[in-house]
Amino acid sequence: MKDLADNSGQPSGAMPDAPPAIELRGISKAFGPVQANKDISLSVAKGAIHGIIGENGAGKSTLMSILYGFYKADAGEILINGAPTDIPDSQAAIAAGIGMVFQHFKLVENFSVLENVVLGAEDGALLRTTMSKARKHLTEIAEEYEMNVDPDALIEEIGVGMQQRVEILKSLYRHADILILDEPTGVLTPAEADHLFRILRGLKDEGKTIILITHKLREIMEVTDTVSVMRRGEMTATVKTAETSPEELAELMVGRKVLLRVDKKPAQPGETILKVSDLRVVDDDNVERLKGVSLQVRAGEILGIAGVAGNGQSELLNVLGGITRATGSVQVNGQEIDLTGKHSDGRSRRERGISHVPEDRQRAGLIMDFSAWENIVFGYQWDPACNNGMLMDNDGIRRETAGKMERFDVRPPDCYLAAKSFSGGNQQKIVLAREIERNPDLLLVGQPTRGVDIGAIEFIHQRIIELRDAGKAILLVSVELDEIMGLSDRIAVMFDGRIMGERLPGETDERELGLLMAGVTSGEGAA
């Protein structure tokens, strides 16, 4: 265990004698055999921005859910401003001055901003009096914290950054003094994230206490005063942000030294493997999701698609992977791919040498109830190599699986274990083992390291680079800009169903990419 720095995390301007805004003492929580939180103690000073960092499944969200009254701790005590407080449900949390901004916003899409803010906090049976009072109050708060919103705008018509502001306003409207934000930047562009951090600093200056849960080291370094690291349900360290480094935090999170940079040689691109021209997709609601995308990927190179989630990247992967119908032209190895016919499906793509690591491994890439060996053959069950005439060659598949699990370091290496029993990183390794070991000409990879622990990220990146070095074409989609910058040989930025531009990773920076991701081309200047 790391030596604990001054645990109280004194921020600038806080009164030294004031009790901590939040103090947790010996919190434990188990779900069945899984100990999600083990004897956790934490103290956050008033007016501080405190980061909680840890890998997926480290217990961050469980801890915050206990604080917000969603779960009841098996043991331990919560003190708010020095007073022991019982938080049996979220109403009690709100009464105690705690507000929570969830990763996935809890807003009613077809309500206005004002209606969403008031929802659940109405004064009486009649809406009218509440609304006029609320409008005044909301305007005051928004002015005080410099968060401009139009109270009458509909949620579905404003951007995600604005929606997040509404979530924060909702908490402030309920007089929250302590604000918990769970992975707040997951859906934001870098510019929007910066704006959010400015808001958080403003809130801090007004004396609010903020807890920021994230797995991004950069954000912790940028905005927090103190940071706690969680690993396997335990709080392994609490340090002052100014006195630590990303490398040290990463090591504390994983429990060993980690390579944060991807090590790779320059690409040796060969001939064009994938050629996409004027690809268009219209979804069931008649909204055009891809608006004429054209791109090329050559053998031995990684084309990274950067962009904020929901700008057409998923549709692009799904069209290439045979899941979504489209118009336009896709050529693989110079041969036209059928995009609309009866046999335009995942199997036909696989037969053409396209492997697909989908963005959502739990809903698409894996059958969570199936065992590892069933998942290793999933998608390729038609292959004669997996069959003995009428029946599937289950013994043979299991033997293959054992080898693949060993080569991809899947732990535990038990091919009978159900996919859902593996950690996120090991689940992803199962998908990668299946798709990479098919030795495809073209690999489609979506969010390869989403929800994957840092240790596994390193391994997964190495495998993708190895496949590139073996002369394969790779199309990488990720919302993690660091990942795109680290892995890609070329970067294309998508916004609103279009490719906004292509850049070389050595000749661009996060700022430029961030502007492209927000739909601003260089000619228009920075907004």
Partner: protein, 367 residues
């Protein structure tokens, strides 16, 4: 890691559910002033005490194996085929048409033909609901229930207007030609010199039901189609990612399910009645749902659960005959068994899971 060992999941939980169902049944019997111990004795001797009892128990079990397997196959594809009743009704029509079509010289020729007829009619009756689900999204539970009613009406029409022999007042088909009469277990075991009740209706269909168990097991766990079917049943979005066509799986799974339901008719229509009568299925289609639920959709479980329900049917009939316990009470007992083993499964499962968890914890603490 699973919470419980497998044996607890497949044996202990259903067993405890069953005991609970029986305990409450005993209370009910006590409540109407009868002796539950005597009732149990009567049921057991009635169902298993003689080859005659066995013969009826296995006859009923044969029906339930077919409908249980039918439900299980659809269930693996996440399809709730509640239309076994109608599919078995139509299967009966198929079997009857085949049996009456020719003066069959020998049952060994008639049986395969009747199986094809029954399975085809059953599958055809499942096809339309399947097609509507696959192409139009009409929920299969609703459509198959409706098709049960339509099936009953179709049978009624066919018996009254088409198949009824001239001059007969009875809405039933003519007797099947003697060449279609299936050998009973009495005759089959007689070949080996084993005595078996002559009066019991159990026949060669029982062996075919067992064979069907093996084939369904192979289909579900050993074939590509079974793999794709289970994959679709667990996650449609993943199936689409893998290039598995949902429409194809829905339609083929329902055809197989309907075919299995239709096959039941070789037992009750061809094997026992030897003619087609109204309401020949007698609710076996619905019992199949309970059988599959209790048997965890596994052919071995289905066979065992079918045997249990065969026992309840036969033992219950004996009870009504000898103990002046009203026939309706038997339905109550069967209902309790279905309730506890099917619908209330989690009520028993959760405490047992907790128990195992506590045991494991204390075992760890003791290390």
């Amino acid at each position: 890691m699973d919470v419980m060992p497998k044996w607890a999941d497949v044996v202990l939980v259903p067993l405890i559910s069953l005991l609970l169902a029986f305990a409450i049944s005993a209370l009910v019997i006590l409540g109407i002033g009868k002796d539950p111990v005597e009732a149990v004795k009567l049921m057991v001797t009635g169902a298993f005490g003689s080859t005659y009892g066995w013969g009826y128990t296995l006859f009923y079990a044969t029906n339930f194996i077919f409908t249980g397997l039918a439900f299980a196959v659809a269930s693996h594809a996440s399809l709730f085929n509640i239309g076994s009743e109608g599919q078995a009704t139509l299967g009966g029509l198929g079997v009857a048409l085949v049996c009456l079509a020719l003066p069959w010289p020998h049952w060994a020729l008639a049986l395969p033909a009747a199986m094809i007829g029954g399975a085809l009619f059953g599958a055809a009756w499942a096809f339309l609901p399947a097609w509507l689900q696959a192409k139009r999204g009409s929920h299969i539970v609703i459509t198959t229930i409706m098709f049960n009613f339509i099936g009953a009406a179709v049978l009624n029409y066919m018996l009254v207007n088409v198949l009824r022999p001239e001059g007969s007042q009875d809405p039933a088909s003519a007797n099947f030609p003697p060449g279609t009469n299936l050998p009973t277990l009495h005759e089959i075991l007689g070949v080996f010199g084993i005595p078996f009740s002559k009066a019991a209706p159990v026949n060669v269909s029982f062996l075919i039901a067992l064979l069907a168990c093996v084939l369904v097991w192979l289909l579900i766990w050993r074939t590509r189609f079974g793999f794709e079917l289970r994959a679709f049943g667990k996650s449609e979005s993943a199936a689409v990612y893998a290039g598995i066509s949902p429409a194809r799986i829905i339609i083929v799974a329902m055809l197989i399910s309907g075919g299995l339901s239709g096959l039941m008719a070789i037992n009750n229509v061809m094997g026992e009645a030897e003619r087609l009568v109204l309401n020949s299925v007698e609710g076996a289609g619905f019992i199949g749902i309970a059988v599959a639920l209790m048997g965890r959709n596994h052919p071995v479980g289905v066979a065992l659960a079918a045997l249990l329900f065969g026992f309840l049917y036969q033992g219950g009939a004996e009870l009504a005959l000898w103990m002046s316990i009203p026939r309706e009470l038997i339905v109550v007992i069967q209902g309790l068994v279905i309730l506890f083993t099917g619908a209330l499964d989690n009520m028993v499962r959760m405490p047992i899971e907790k128990l195992f968890l506590a045991m494991r914890r204390s075992a760890k603490a003791g290390e």
